[in-house]
């Protein structure tokens, strides 16, 4: 499967010139992985952002407060591991291949080089990182509120 052609089919990249999409495709590494392959582990720093080209990936997030497990399944065309593009930022979920999968990886250092050669795509990915960070921060602060609720409950029951 040709990565550039695949990228051109995705709404997120259809507004960019073929030259920019070609640069992005050149920076990404396509690989085929068996079911069970772990791409990203919750709490660990990831090394790359991934684009699922074929197969399925399961996203599993364990809530810090109540250990509730949230599961989602990604299909072809979806991105994951966006926060791997910035340093010192542990992943908020674990991503594992649910079936044999074809995945394109954009390593962090390649993301930085995108700004020199295909800046509009670099900025677009940065926007997606910003949105992901904002949502993660909101989720984190919700967990802090749950902790406060638990404290209030514990004090009332004491």
């Amino acid at each position: 499967m040709d990565l550039q052609q695949f990228l051109n089919t995705l709404p997120a990249f259809q507004n960019f010139t073929p030259a920019y999409v070609g640069v992005l495709a050149g920076f990404m590494q396509v690989g085929q992985f068996p079911a069970g392959k772990t791409f990203i582990e919750q709490g660990q720093q990831g090394e790359a952002m991934y684009l699922l080209m074929d197969g399925a990936v399961e996203v599993k997030r364990i809530d810090d407060v109540d250990s509730h497990i949230e599961l989602r399944e990604l299909r072809a065309g979806e991105l994951f591991g966006l926060l791997s593009l910035i340093g010192d930022m542990p992943a908020s979920a674990t991503c594992v291949a649910k079936e044999p999968a074809t995945v394109a990886a954009l390593p962090r250092e390649a993301f930085q080089r995108l700004f020199d050669t295909a800046a509009p795509i670099g900025h677009h990915l940065q926007y997606m990182v910003a949105v992901q960070l904002a949502r993660d921060l909101q989720e984190r602060n919700k967990s802090l509120r749950v902790l406060l609720k638990q404290r209030a409950g514990a004090q009332a029951g004491a």
Binding site: N15, F16, T17, Y20, D63, D64, V65, D66, H68, I86, D88, M89, P90, A119, P120, I121, H123, H124, Q126, Y127, V129, A130, V131, L133, A134, R135, D136, L137, Q138, E139, R140, N141, K142, S143, L144, R145, V146, L147, L148, K149, Q150, R151, A152, G153, A154, G157
Partner: protein, 187 residues
């Protein structure tokens, strides 16, 4: 609207990196889109889980960020000159605050209404990119601080842990930035 020269100079002094990326013309555009605000100590600028209609650019003074529940609060940290506030609500699309921000000292802020922010980034690629880079750095720092605070509080509460229901998932809602990236010129 024309920006007051003294506010432009103060912005450049407090945000040297961002001002450098924006360039003189766009600093004027950005500051001109804001309203200056001076508040005494003890004023809640943003209230946890209440609607937020603006981004705030901190020029002077100190503010405290905290998360509230049942009249109790966990303090997450301080914000001072050279930082932005209110960015989570606009980026997440929820338009609700994720924390409370209260002035600890008298503060001087530039208020940029979300509508103005949306308008600016939809029409000015350079401003959008410079602001976005600044926002990613700040959000990452705040997420690290929030995660650290959570770990510390969770560890201290571990012995008294009780189950509690989670809250409803976030509603993606409207997102001003998306409209900008949907119409990037020349791409």
């Amino acid at each position: 609207m024309t920006a007051r020269p003294e506010l432009i100079e103060e912005f450049k002094r407090r945000f040297p990196g961002l001002a450098g990326q924006l360039g003189a013309r766009n600093v004027e555009v950005l500051v001109g889109a804001t309203t200056a605000l001076e508040l005494p100590a003890g004023r809640k600028v943003i209230r946890d889980r209440m609607p937020v209609d603006s981004l705030y650019i901190v020029l002077d003074g100190e503010l405290i960020i905290s998360v509230e529940e049942n009249k109790k609060a966990i303090r997450l940290g301080h914000v001072g000159p050279g930082q932005l506030l209110g960015e989570v609500s606009v980026l997440s699309g929820e338009l609700l605050a994720s924390s409370t921000v209260e002035s600890k000292t008298p503060v001087k802020l530039l208020r940029l209404r979300h509508e103005k922010f949306g308008e600016l980034i939809a029409t000015n690629y350079d401003v959008a990119n410079a602001l976005l880079k600044e926002l990613v750095g700040m959000l990452a720092d705040r997420l690290r601080i929030s995660a650290k605070s959570f770990s510390e509080h969770a560890a201290s509460d571990a012995a008294h842990h009780t189950d509690a229901p989670g809250e409803a998932p976030a509603n993606p809602g409207q997102n001003w930035l998306k409209s900008f990236f949907d119409r990037v010129p020349g791409t």
